[in-house]
């Protein structure tokens, strides 16, 4: 495997709130290689969005971020605001969830595309910026891109708007694209189009992609590797095949258990995570042991209540280059298998 574009090491985010200190991300580590797509999956409140906002310094000042995140060898978390600004929108592009609100309603599409180009001095002047902006809109498949430059967000449909948001993210020809629930707000058919678009662009530019979602259908469709987050921790990671075929953590099993069709290979529309009994613990009040313990239907080991299970390689997993790991004290895949047979 080549040098990773992004290597996150022990990322932690804490924030003081009126209800106590919230531990939102608690020691997250992963890396993304060029051209690779890593999906980060989890319920809302699992810390997945915060974990990527932290990388680019987009969290409020009072959020305390520790750990390291090496982007092309340089630690983003150690950068000053000025240096970060040079990375944002240039080395790293970001696509947000809701295309209705992530574009400024009172500025033209052209203005919103060109301002980033101009800020990063990617173009020599306004004229060239417009040319490039029109090219970007054409790349993301907007019909009549030149005319679209002078239009306003409300004049476009949701799907078209999200294409614009993607064009903005791609304006700096980024090595890494972060998509935060980028298709969640869209219709199913539009979702598929956007996913295709991102895959195509990714293939063309060898962009690394971190795709944040709570939609397992999207994960199956786009990701090479998947990282399951719960309570601000990674509870399981591995290739999509490993994790989906042989989920080792009870939480992952819970997520997948609600998706029988996945194995039937019908590839039907994306599905929401169906609730596992109970709710995630509030980040101000995490359990001392395994974060999933209070909701865990298996509770296969007594240590889980008081001790945090470390991420360890899952036995019986594929012996490929990508390890399959889970944060459990027992092999839930095997146990579940035994119960099942």
């Amino acid at each position: 495997m080549s040098e990773p574009v992004l290597a996150v090491e022990d990322l932690r985010v804490r924030m003081d709130t009126p209800r106590g200190t919230a531990h939102i991300v608690n020691g997250l580590s992963y890396s993304v290689a060029p051209g690779e797509t890593v999906a980060v999956v989890g319920e809302s409140g699992s810390g997945k969005s915060v974990s990527v906002m932290a990388l680019l310094g987009l969290l409020p000042k009072r959020a305390e971020v520790t750990g390291s995140a090496r982007f092309r060898g340089r630690d983003l978390l150690a950068m000053r605001e000025r240096e970060l600004r040079a990375v944002r929108g240039d080395g790293v592009g970001m696509v947000f969830q809701d295309p209705m609100t992530s574009l400024n309603p009172v500025l033209s599409i052209g203005r919103q595309l060109t301002e980033g180009l101009l800020a990063h001095r990617r173009v020599s002047g306004k004229k060239e910026a417009r040319e490039r902006a029109a090219q970007l809109l054409a790349d993301v498949g907007l019909p009549d891109p030149r005319a679209a430059l002078d239009r306003f967000p409300h004049e476009l449909s949701g799907g078209m708007r999200q294409r614009v948001v993607i064009a903005i993210a791609l304006a700096g020809d980024p090595a890494l694209l972060i998509a935060d629930e980028a298709t969640t707000a869209l219709d199913v058919t539009v979702q598929a189009q956007i996913l295709d678009l991102v895959e195509r662009l990714q293939a063309e530019h060898a962009t690394a992609v971190v795709w944040i979602t709570h939609d397992l259908g999207v994960v199956a469709g786009i990701a090479d590797r998947v990282l399951v987050m719960y309570g601000g921790r990674c509870v399981e990671d591995g290739t999509v095949d490993d994790v989906f075929e042989r989920p080792a953590h009870p939480y992952t099993q819970g997520l997948l258990g609600s998706l029988p069709q996945l194995h039937d290979g019908d590839g039907g529309g994306p599905r929401e995570l169906v609730a596992i009994g109970g709710t995630p613990p509030p980040p101000t009040d995490l359990p001392p042991g395994c974060v999933f313990w209070p909701r865990c239907p298996v509770r296969g080991d007594e240590r889980c209540a008081g001790e945090q299970p470390p991420l360890t390689a899952v036995g019986g997993g594929g012996g490929g280059p990508v390890p399959h790991r889970a944060a459990t004290f027992y092999d839930a895949a095997r146990d579940a298998g035994e119960v099942g047979s």
């Binding site: 709130t17 009126p18 310094g57 409020p60 000042k61 009072r62 605001e81 600004r85």
Partner: protein
């Protein structure tokens, strides 16, 4: 024009229609835990007490002329000094409280009664009645407030009673608008539609169901309007069209004090402070009530304060 631009447009609100009594008790508790609101409540209560027992509290009568004692600065005998006729300024400020409160209460009572009725009818029945009534309100709204009051007084003649009527007319459209907006929100609620479908009469519907649920913004508006009314009374009396001498009105005292600015600043300062204090109290009370009774309507200012400071730095990194 989008609804967002209408300053009094109220989003469809509160589907839980019944006004539980508990809601108001909780509201009251919440209200008194905010320092500015507590302060405002205490001031209003204080002024009401002053007004009720003014003759017991005031050291002298409102018109005890003593030319020997004229224009005395604040001191032991006269805490707020004396005016050009030797009258005790403190006593006149205390006695003026009753005038201010009375004018405020009666005028706002008038606006409330007429405005709410108009708003209820216009909002509930809609169609041509709505158009006619609200255009009429627009007409009244198009006058600068004081000017309308002045015009009314020009016809009725100066005096406290006429000032009340004039101010009452001036603030009627605001109540009509607020009420109408609230009614439009409530009207479409499941509860009201359901009641209508089982044949509850219009009058009963309006008084028992629609009005109580439109109450929060109206209560807030009442407090804010009291502030405006006190200001308006002072302004009218200041230009000589409100309360007539020798009755002690704060606005009137100010205009008398104006002639002695260089010799007796206290004549203008103390009645002015009294006005500011009472108006401030009504305004703060209105804000407090809005936060508690009508959270959807509260300004983003308070909303941001209530929420964790998530939006804090957004946009302007160091």
């Amino acid at each position: 024009m989008s609804a967002a631009q209408d300053p009094v447009a109220v989003p469809a609100r509160r589907i839980s229609v019944r006004p539980a009594r508990g809601r108001f008790t909780t509201a009251l508790k919440l209200l008194l835990t905010s320092p500015p609101t507590l302060f405002a409540t205490l001031v209003v209560i204080g002024v009401v007490v002053l007004a009720l027992f003014d003759e017991l509290i005031a050291p002298t009568g409102y018109n005890e002329v003593d030319v020997q004692q004229r224009l005395l600065p604040p001191g032991a005998g006269h805490w707020f000094g004396t005016d050009d006729l030797g009258r005790d300024v403190l006593s006149r400020v205390v006695l003026g409280a009753a005038v201010s409160l009375q004018v405020g209460a009666v005028a706002v009572g008038f606006s409330l009664l007429v405005g709410v009725t108009v708003g209820l009818l216009a909002g509930y029945y809609g169609r041509w009645l709505d158009t006619v009534l609200m255009r009429l309100m627009d007409v009244l709204f198009a006058f600068p407030a004081i000017l309308l009051a002045i015009a009314v007084i020009a016809i009725l003649g100066p005096g406290t009673t006429n000032a009340m009527i004039a101010i009452g007319i001036t603030y009627t459209p605001v109540f009509a608008r607020v009420t109408r907006a609230a009614v439009l929100g409530v009207k479409e609620s499941v509860f009201v539609r359901a009641s209508r479908s089982v044949g509850v009469s219009d009058a009963r519907m309006l008084l028992r169901h629609v009005l109580p649920n439109a109450a929060p913004p109206i209560i807030v508006q009442t407090s804010v309007s009291l502030a405006f009314a006190v200001l308006a009374e002072a302004a009218l009396s200041f230009v000589g069209l409100g309360t007539q001498p020798p009755a002690p009105s704060w606005g009137r005292m100010l205009s008398e004090g104006r002639s002695y600015l260089e010799d007796a600043w206290w004549m203008a300062v103390f009645p002015g402070l009294a006005i500011v204090l009472l108006v401030l109290a009504f305004n703060l009370l209105g804000d407090g009530l809005r936060d508690v009774l009508d959270p959807q309507q509260r300004s983003a200012l308070e909303a941001a304060r209530a929420k964790p400071r998530r939006r804090r730095r957004a946009g302007v990194g160091a």
